[in-house]
Amino acid sequence: MGFDQQNYDINGIDTAVLTAGTGDPLVFLHGAGTVTGFDALLPLAGRYRLIVPLHPGFGASADDPSVDSVHDYRRHYLDLLDRLEIQRSVLIGHSMGGYLAASLAIDNSERISRLVLASPIGLKVPEHPTVDLFTIPPAELGGYLTQKPSIFDGFIPDPPTPEFLADQYRELTSAARLLWESPYDRKLDKWLHRVRMPTLLLWGEADQLIPIGQCAQWANRLPNAEQHILPGVGHLLFDESPDAVDAVLRFVGEPVPA
């Protein structure tokens, strides 16, 4: 099974949406890069209608420089969910997408039945600071992203071509619109109590970018969260370990409260 891609004009932004499978909708918000693709998520499509929209300025979605805040993203995805006629769904957010998913869950909890936050950014935990993505030397980036460098095989040309580098630069630019000023949302902590739906915190224990130490802070603030830690796994947990998808399947397979 593979993804189908369809593009939608969402308030002027040509938005690419990957879908696979049928069933109840399960929406995945990706992180600050799309280089390894999303095939690792396909086991979720065995039981659900898996929907992976590409953020503005990422992959096959068009750029929109005016999308530069978490609320722009949130409203963009509310528009998309309306367009797809999805009133309520499971929402999964990874890394930067975890921050966006948390924001949606804070403000629009009626649209989300269950929430998965996979190594999310956004929370400021002074004892366990997020590594600043923008200051990592390019040659060292892989080591921060994963404990299993082979996940990049076939995705990164060796040596990297100018086209490849330019595509990465474009996605980093789109991430910078949201994150350049700070990798934290200083008010996120204040509002996480509003995320009342069942929530799974999924984290790689060996995450070098967003330390596992942050997980406890999220768990403390979220009223209805459970944790699942993946030993030996880094930041790109879905690419690194099938256990990540299995944990999601177990979590969403539980009876959903009315």
Binding site: L172, T173, E181
Partner: protein, 403 residues
């Protein structure tokens, strides 16, 4: 009439922190993260004094202007607050114009820039010209992250608009922009030169910056790049200006030249080459990441840069490369005068900005180079004026003897 009738020479000095450490090879960059534990304030003081001597000599030698610029977190430049340096020099000079080029207006409060530069114009008795740059990519790594490189061009455009309104309009006025709101824009002082001093937008050749210069009624000055890139940008400026019905004068474009003058071509190369080489190899040592923070250029411009080895790593250029692509005019007075005169004619510009102190060049060589340039090159170029007045040349000759 030709471009030589009103030709003017601007002496630019980089203000390098000149000392190159023994373990130079171990540093990947002399910008942004080059450790400031290597900065010695006593040495810094000596160097400020040295560069002051060179710039005051420029006035004595008959240069028309001195030029300064601004960079941050780097051994390349000791002028992170260029208006401070310009104020110091305004007090010590009497005749020369000062091109202050300049504070990236989007990296400061635009009202603050308007105030500082108006102060400089009034303090100097109307001798200030400005050159506002977008700022290199490195400045965005070195300043507060509240200035996002992904919106830097839009912010630059707005900041420039505010500076010009502050200078030209009678305040108080209100300004409601996308980035800045002023309830009372009412700058004291206003510049002495009305409606505003002569000024330039400083760019590296991108169409967007050239376009902004044309739109804002400014001239255009290009950073030190190969001659053909400068000519291409000037051509672009002229055609955009023509589309808008704007007349371009020969003083609207500043041509930048790295030069060294010897008694012979061979002597010039022998004396100059090691310093120009470390100028590029050491002082220009910047990883691509710092040159292009995310959003600073478009994907297409990034692709163009990533596709060109020379652009991707300027510090690897060889001496022969630099000579062949016209990054440097080095040789006898005849050689250098011919090259610069040819380029000025081709560019149609009467404003020549020269740098005569390169890399770790010692003071004696810089002074010798300046003196020979003023006494031997400038007169040769001025002699090409249709009016062929000789007065400035003889002044320069006289002073050179005194030095």
């Amino acid at each position: 009439m030709n471009v030589f009738d009103d030709i003017q020479f601007y002496l630019f000095n980089h203000h390098h922190y000149i000392d190159i450490p023994q373990d130079a090879d171990s540093y990947h960059s002399t910008w942004v993260d080059f450790p400031n534990s290597l900065y010695n304030p006593e040495r810094g003081h000596e160097l400020y004094q040295r560069y002051t001597r060179e710039l005051l000599l420029a006035e004595e030698l008959g240069f028309d202007a001195i030029a300064l610029n601004e960079h941050h977190n780097t051994t390349y430049s000791m002028m992170p607050a260029v208006s401070v340096r310009a104020a110091y020099l305004a007090a010590l000079t009497k005749r020369v114009k000062m091109l202050v080029a300049g504070t990236p207006v989007n990296l400061s409060w635009p009202s603050r820039v308007a105030e500082e530069y108006a102060m400089l114009d009034v303090l100097s008795g109307g001798r200030m010209e400005y050159g506002f740059p977008l700022g290199t990519g490195m400045e965005y790594w070195s300043n507060a992250t509240s200035i996002n490189p992904a919106s830097s061009r839009a912010r630059f455009r707005e900041a420039l608009d505010i500076v010009f309104r502050a200078w030209e309009q009678n305040g108080p006025t209100r300004y409601d922009g996308d980035f800045y709101t002023y309830r009372y824009l009412n700058t004291w002082p206003k510049p002495m030169q009305r409606p505003r001093p002569k000024g330039y937008i400083v760019g590296s050749g991108s169409s967007e910056t050239v376009n902004l210069a044309v739109e804002s009624g400014c001239g255009y000055s290009i950073v030190f790049t190969p001659i053909k890139n400068q000519l291409r940008a000037f051509e672009n400026f002229r055609s955009l200006a023509e589309e808008r019905g704007r007349t371009v004068g020969p003083d609207d474009l500043i041509f930048t030249v790295i030069a060294y003058v010897g008694d012979t071509d061979e002597e010039a190369e022998r004396e100059c080459r090691p310093h120009v080489e470390n100028f590029f190899e050491w002082f220009h040592r910047v990883p691509p990441k710092y040159l292009s923070p995310p959003g600073y250029v478009s994907r297409d411009e990034y692709l163009r840069r990533a596709s060109s080895a020379a652009l991707a790593d300027a510090s690897r250029a060889t001496w022969d490369d630099m000579v062949s692509i016209g990054r440097i005019a080095c040789g006898s007075a005849d050689t250098v005068a011919d090259m610069i005169a040819h380029w000025a004619e081709e560019a149609g510009t009467s404003r020549i900005l020269v740098t005569l102190q390169h890399g770790d060049m010692p003071e004696w060589k810089a002074v010798k180079n300046m003196t020979k340039f003023a006494s031997e090159v400038i007169p040769r170029i001025r002699a090409r004026a249709s009016t062929a007045a000789s007065a400035p040349a003889s002044t320069a000759q006289q002073t050179a003897v005194e030095v």
